[in-house]
């Protein structure tokens, strides 16, 4: 195998990014009409869809929690989303990611307001290149907002790690495969910087860890801005539509006031 240059003389990574640079991220809320909230995310090559339902009655009854809503997060990957075809059955990795992601969101949602219910968050990855759990969690948080579920804050996620001795943000697959790779998925509630998701694998010293962690926090803040922009855009669109609707009504009212017979005709 020929040697890979993870960071070149100009400080650029394999895909041309700087060490503290995220891959391009695109988030679109409200993409699925049957779900109560939804979002689509592209994060580098990663592509995911999220659909949210609830709070709705938890069934069967014996799983209900009388003190709060259950956050049911289901992370799954399409068979063709990885280099080798994945079995359609959920694997152990998918089960673990579902658990820790659900726990991360549960901190942000006002679950105590919806006893005996379940909030179902279904996530599907359609293309992948490292960092899917962070992309999914980021999109899920936007989908929850889209569903109008009350939250303390958004949850913003991104991975940070090490390749070839360099601490870097948002590793791509080739970087994750470096022999000394460390991968640390991280998610926070950006307003308070509370850490709601933290996993790490790879061998690392305390000092390097701290460097990585702090870079990760910065990454999450950038993700937060992108999430807010996506939601804002959506609200503006809604506002625009509403404005148009109001304009339309105004116009009709004006017509009526100018031609009162129209109204009378309608009343007959």
């Amino acid at each position: 195998m020929e040697e890979i240059v993870y960071v070149n003389a100009e400080g650029k990574r394999i895909d041309g990014r700087k060490l503290d640079e995220l891959r391009p991220i695109k988030i679109i809320p409200s993409v699925l009409s049957r779900a109560e909230g939804s979002a689509y995310i592209e994060w580098g090559q990663n592509k995911a869809l999220v659909g949210v339902f609830g709070p709705r009655e938890a069934i069967p009854q014996h799983i209900q929690d009388p003190t709060k809503a259950i956050v049911n997060y289901v992370y799954r990957m399409a068979t063709f989303s990885v280099p080798d075809r994945k079995s359609p059955k959920p694997g152990r990795r998918e089960i673990e990611i579902s658990k820790v992601s659900g726990e991360a969101l549960a901190k942000a949602i006002f679950v105590e307001r919806f006893p005996n219910t379940t909030i179902d968050i279904y996530v599907h990855i359609f293309d992948s290149n490292a960092g899917t759990r962070c992309a999914a969690l980021t999109a899920a948080s936007v989908a929850l907002a889209d569903a109008g579920i009350p939250m303390r804050d958004l949850v913003s996620a991104c991975a940070v790690g090490r390749a070839a001795g360099h601490i870097m943000l948002d590793l791509c697959k080739e970087e994750e495969d470096a022999t000394d790779a460390v991968d640390m998925p991280l998610a926070i509630m950006p307003r308070t910087k509370e850490v709601v998701l933290l996993q790490m694998d790879g061998i690392i010293s305390k000092e390097e860890w701290k460097e990585a962690f702090e870079l990760g926090l910065k990454g999450c803040q950038q993700v937060y801005e992108i999430q807010k922009k996506a939601l804002k855009r959506k609200y503006e669109e809604i506002a625009e539509e509403e404005a148009k609707a109001i304009e339309h009504v105004d116009k009709q009212l004006k017509e009526i006031s100018e031609n009162p017979e129209l109204l009378r005709g309608g009343n007959k």
Binding site: S33, A78, F80
Partner: protein, 263 residues
């Protein structure tokens, strides 16, 4: 629940309107919803396609893999179609292994393609009796706004037209390299009809599916041949109705086929 009542009301409205040959969304009886096609949706797939048929949203990915041929066709590969009604697609879908509906969907799409002989299974052979290409076609329903059969069939065709065959070295796959495109000699597509209050409509939306008595899907090719039929639902069809659907299927599928440029 509230969702359920809304659909109930819409379905009642559908039955009302159909009496005067009208549809809830203003379409003509034999008019499809708008179609949006995005091929190459997933780079990790060997071929992929996302289809929006109205609000129905379907993603299909293809993976080519090498396996031992079936003993009764040692010089042939084959196709395998799977379908998942993802729980995000509808409030009533649940996570878990494919149910009856997903199984039927996958198998009808499979037959429509397989029986059309668009893919020559003999050309998928690598070493007779030992190795052949198997084409895994996986259908994911992301949003169910009705007529999953046609949306899935369109997305499957789109994904197959996008499919590249991985390069082989010593009969093993070289990752990330391709030796060419998968050959498709024709473009098989399903056209699905719903019978509502005795009337036939094409491309039923959700409220129409709730209102319908029965469903008929017909697989056709551009050579005016049929490759598959499937009646669904607890209602029935008369011979005349079926014959009407066949005529329409040829027409409508030719229209849909134009979305895909000549391969």
């Amino acid at each position: 629940m509230r969702d359920d009542i809304l659909w109930e009301l819409r379905s009642d409205k559908v039955k009302e309107l159909i009496k005067v040959s009208q549809r809830l969304d203003g379409r003509g009886l034999f008019e499809y919803r708008p179609v949006q096609i995005e091929t190459g949706f997933s780079k990790n797939a060997h071929g992929s396609c996302r289809i929006r048929l109205g609000e129905t949203d379907v993603i299909v990915g293809v993976k080519m893999d090498i396996a031992e041929p079936y003993p009764d066709s040692p010089d042939e590969g084959s196709i395998t179609v799977g379908a998942e009604l993802m729980p995000m697609a509808s409030p009533v879908f649940e996570p878990g292994p494919p149910d009856q509906n997903a199984t039927e969907l996958a198998r009808v799409v499979d037959r429509c393609i397989r029986e059309s002989k668009a893919i020559d299974f003999k050309k998928l052979s690598i070493v007779e009796g030992e190795k052949a290409w198997f084409v895994f076609i996986d259908i994911y329903i992301a949003n169910d706004a009705g007529n999953l059969f046609d949306a899935s069939s369109l997305a499957a065709l789109g994904a197959l037209l996008d499919t590249k065959i991985p390069k082989l070295e010593d009969d093993k796959i070289v990752k990330g390299e391709y030796s060419g495109k998968l050959e498709l000699s024709k473009k098989p597509l399903l056209t699905t009809f719903a019978k509502i209050n005795g009337k036939i409509v094409v491309d039923p939306a959700t409220a129409e599916e709730r209102a319908m008595d029965a469903r008929l899907s017909i697989g056709t090719t551009e050579e005016a041949l049929m490759s598959a039929m499937q009646k669904g639902g607890t209602g029935s069809f008369t011979q005349a109705e079926i014959e009407q659907c066949i005529e329409l299927a040829f027409q409508k599928s030719d229209e849909l086929r134009k979305f895909f440029k000549v391969g």
